[in-house]
């Protein structure tokens, strides 16, 4: 029987999950995704204290896989780009899992590109080794995985509808439970939603330069750069929603910077902060009030 590798669908899964899933498949492992976030996930996650919601969600997903798999894939992603960190909670995730839950073997290889990109290959080999594969097999599988086609974000610059940038980490925006389905809600209201993925890394990096000192959290660096690019581009967005989770460290600072920039560029901006206690009704009311205001402003 092939090994079963569980993929908790949280945090960086939304950015790199497709690649690792394909990698495991190429190696002949059964990939078991944990599925969408549910109330149950949040209940599991609540055993962590004071930590941000996405970290709790990841924890909940890992717990949900407990019975079904031989390995849980929760690598220690210290850095994905030279000179930048992910965030302390992502770095310590394997340790948090170990200290707070009884799980099958955790694949906790360190992915640390802080100093050099070559470390990625070391991590790939280490992950392969954990599930009992040779270095050669791992390299081949990694190469194969990269060849898989990826779906790209839609280009909405040509749209003539109301355009709103929803800025937030992918693991918040694309998790329907956490984000209260904000993207679809806005789309249903006939609004074009642009998320940070629509902006390329290069573009975001360039646009982030006027913010001053380079932001040393890779996730926040990208979303801040993307927001700047969307606000200062040829066709600036009509509104900006900064979507964050309560007690997200970097966002507390980045949100402040972005709101100030939005004020300078005269673009309406709103910060929406959620946690596991956020009620849907209150959330929708705020969203509707904001979009109504945008629509009136746009028609004028």
């Amino acid at each position: 029987m092939s090994v079963r590798v569980g993929m908790p669908q949280g945090l960086l899964y939304y950015q790199y999950g497709w690649l690792w899933e394909e990698f495991f498949r190429q190696l002949g492992a059964d990939v078991v995704p944990s599925g969408e976030t549910t109330r149950m996930t949040l209940d599991y996650g609540s055993s962590l204290d004071e930590i941000c919601l996405p970290a709790k969600v990841f924890f909940g997903h890992a717990c949900a896989l407990r019975e079904q798999v031989d390995f849980v894939f929760a690598p220690r992603v210290v850095s994905v780009k030279k000179g930048q960190y992910t965030c302390p909670k992502i770095i310590a995730m394997p340790d948090l899992l170990r200290a707070n839950a009884k799980l099958p073997t955790i694949i906790d290889s360190e992915i640390n590109l802080l100093q050099s990109r070559r470390k990625l290959m070391e991590a790939v080999l280490a992950v392969g080794k954990t599930i009992g594969k040779s270095p050669l097999a791992s390299i081949c599988a990694w190469g194969q995985a990269w060849l898989q086609p990826r779906r790209l974000a839609d280009d909405l610059t040509a749209s003539n509808r109301l355009r709103v940038a929803v800025i937030g980490h992918p693991y918040i925006l694309h998790d329907r439970q956490v984000s209260m389905n904000i993207i679809n809600r806005l789309r249903q209201a006939a609004i074009d939603v642009i998320t940070p993925e629509a902006v390329s890394c290069r573009q975001a990096s360039l646009a982030a330069q006027p913010l001053g000192k380079e932001i040393f959290w890779s996730g926040s660096h990208h979303i801040a750069g993307a927001a700047m690019a969307l606000m200062t581009g040829l066709k600036p967005v009509d509104g900006l929603i900064f979507f964050t989770c309560f007690s997200c460290g970097p966002d507390a600072l980045i949100g402040e910077l972005l709101c100030q920039r939005a004020r300078v560029h005269n673009i309406p901006a709103m910060v929406l902060s959620v946690d596991e206690h956020t009620a849907e009704a209150g959330f929708i009311t705020r969203l509707e009030a904001f979009t109504d205001m945008l629509v009136r402003r746009w028609r004028r």
């Binding site: 210290v78 302390p88 340790d95 040393f216 959290w217 007690s247």
Partner: protein, 362 residues
């Protein structure tokens, strides 16, 4: 150029000396007060950590008093401290203040450049002497703190030690020459040694781990060290200002060796540096358990990323090594009555545990 800097415990004495010796006029911000906190909290992002708010409050009060150059520190992450200055600068500019901000980043070139900016017209020898003098004061202050922490639970008349400490701080702050420091220390040590102490007492040994700002700033931690001392516990802070300077600024060999040791100690629980002092909190808890401490207290500002990680692991450490750990998170809403009640309960628990242990042995 009128230089101002944020407060952190007794740091102002050291920095004031340093900048004075470098030939600058210094404006020490008013001591942290309710007003500082309020000013900082109003203008800061809501969920940012407490040191950010206090530092912003300090800057505003200093600017009100006429400072025009703010000195702050940078960093390379992943702790938020490294990005403080950037956001604070934006906020202060939006509030309409005119100033220059000198952010000292941890790169040699940057440090040298900024020291030159702050010491125009001084030779490198004078700069060196200024740093030596400030360092002398820093070590004196930390020696004083350590001695006071030892004496506090043992003194016969409550408050004697603190009175001497207060006087000592004033004298150290007023010292104008490096040569005077030896004399001052002899005087302080003499008066501390003359205090009547209770020889029989074997006070509870409590270690403090956590975030350095909260650990060192008595206004924020509700005077934690003194409270514990009056409750009869001997407090060991695992970090003093001099440790921070040696570790992060001068990066001495001895410190690197110690850090490697701590890293190894924490490895089974936390496999990687998470910024700030998260790793040290875990490592020191393990170390103090080996040294036979009675309890540990972890302090940090609410939402501090590294310490929240440490907190979620510390309960496991505590269970494994059988050492009680109390966690205290501070924000601008913290009331002192709540903290004192929790400290009293914690001390009672530790005392109970110790009595039980002595009975078993006896």
């Amino acid at each position: 150029m009128i230089v101002a800097f944020p407060h952190m415990g007794n740091m102002y004495i050291i920095l004031q000396t340093l900048f004075n010796e470098l030939g600058q006029t210094v404006c020490v911000p008013p001591p942290i007060s309710k007003r500082t906190l309020e000013l900082g909290a109003i203008h800061s992002p809501e969920t940012v950590c407490l040191p950010f708010k206090i530092m912003l409050g300090n800057f505003i009060e200093a600017l009100e008093q006429g400072a025009d150059t703010l000195v702050s520190c940078g960093g390379v992450g992943p702790c938020r401290l490294g990005y403080y200055a950037e956001v604070q600068k934006e906020i202060l500019e939006r509030l309409g203040y005119r100033f220059e901000m000198i952010v000292i980043e941890p790169h040699l070139g940057d440090v040298v450049h900024n020291i030159r900016r702050l010491s125009t017209g001084k030779s490198w020898l004078q700069v060196y002497r200024a740093f030596q003098f400030a360092r002398g004061k820093m070590e004196l202050l930390d020696d004083l703190e350590r001695k006071v922490a030892w004496l506090r639970p043992r003194e016969c008349h409550r408050g004697t030690v603190d009175a001497i400490k207060k006087e000592g701080l004033v004298r150290i702050a007023a010292a104008k020459q490096e040569n005077d420091l030896t004399q001052i220390w002899q005087d302080i040590a003499a008066s501390l040694n003359s205090i009547k102490i209770n020889q029989e007492i074997r006070p509870l040994q409590i270690g403090i781990v956590g975030e350095i700002y909260v650990m060192l700033e008595p206004f924020i931690n509700q005077d934690l060290e003194r409270q514990l001392g009056t409750l009869g516990a001997e407090v060991h802070k695992t970090m003093y200002f001099s440790d921070y300077v040696r570790g992060h600024l001068s990066y001495s060999r001895e410190y690197r060796k110690r850090y490697r040791m701590l890293d190894q100690l924490a490895k089974p629980y936390l496999g990687h540096y998470v910024g700030g002092h998260g790793l040290k909190s875990i490592a020191y808890t393990l170390q103090k358990a080996q040294q036979g401490f009675d309890g540990m207290i972890q302090v940090y500002p609410f939402t501090c990323m590294p310490e929240v990680v440490a907190k979620n692991i510390l309960h496991q450490v505590s269970k494994d090594v059988d050492l009680p750990v109390l966690t205290l998170a501070y924000d601008e809403q913290s009331g002192d009555a709540g903290v004192i009640t929790r400290l009293e309960a914690f001390i009672d628990l530790l005392q109970y545990r110790r009595n039980k242990q002595t009975q078993v042995i006896g």
